[in-house]
């Protein structure tokens, strides 16, 4: 499954957005550039908060497991 050299492209819209060598040739290029000031990682915050919520709930269950009778099952 060899491929030759990809066709030479025009100057990329986003500097430094060269295609990953393990990506498919048809992979889309980045559309825009986000500078440090323009980028606010809200999505990351959402994911991290979700992770922490999962951890917090797990730790609450750990309280039941560890200190209240050592049963693995909390309800039922």
């Amino acid at each position: 499954m060899s491929r030759g050299v990809p066709a030479v492209e025009d100057e990329e819209e986003v500097p430094g957005s060269e295609q990953s060598v393990s990506a498919p040739v048809t992979q889309e290029e980045p559309e825009r550039e986000l500078t440090h000031e323009e980028f606010d990682p809200k999505g990351t915050l959402a994911l991290i908060l979700t992770y922490f919520a999962v951890l917090a709930i797990m730790w609450v269950f750990m309280y039941f497991v560890e200190f209240l009778g050592n049963d693995l099952i909390v309800v039922g």
Partner: protein, 71 residues
């Protein structure tokens, strides 16, 4: 469907989403079992999960190819 376009744009992305949702659904059974004591029978649940997700995957792929056909 809204004008947002197909749910998945690539087959590779579809594969990853399918595998992720399968694993998530599978782990849900463990959470239900260990935390709530609900014993969800394995074969019916996982079998149904796999079939449903595969069905969704096929439909999503069909949606993808027809959207590409129109584009």
């Amino acid at each position: 469907m809204s004008g947002r376009g197909p749910i998945v744009k690539t087959r590779g992305g579809l594969l990853v989403a399918w595998a992720f949702l399968l694993v998530f659904g599978f782990e849900l059974r463990t959470a239900l079992g260990l935390f709530l004591g609900i014993d969800v029978p394995a074969v019916p649940y996982l079998g149904t999960l796999a079939v449903v997700l595969t069905l969704f995957a096929v439909l999503a792929d069909f949606q993808r190819t027809s959207a590409q056909g129109e584009a």
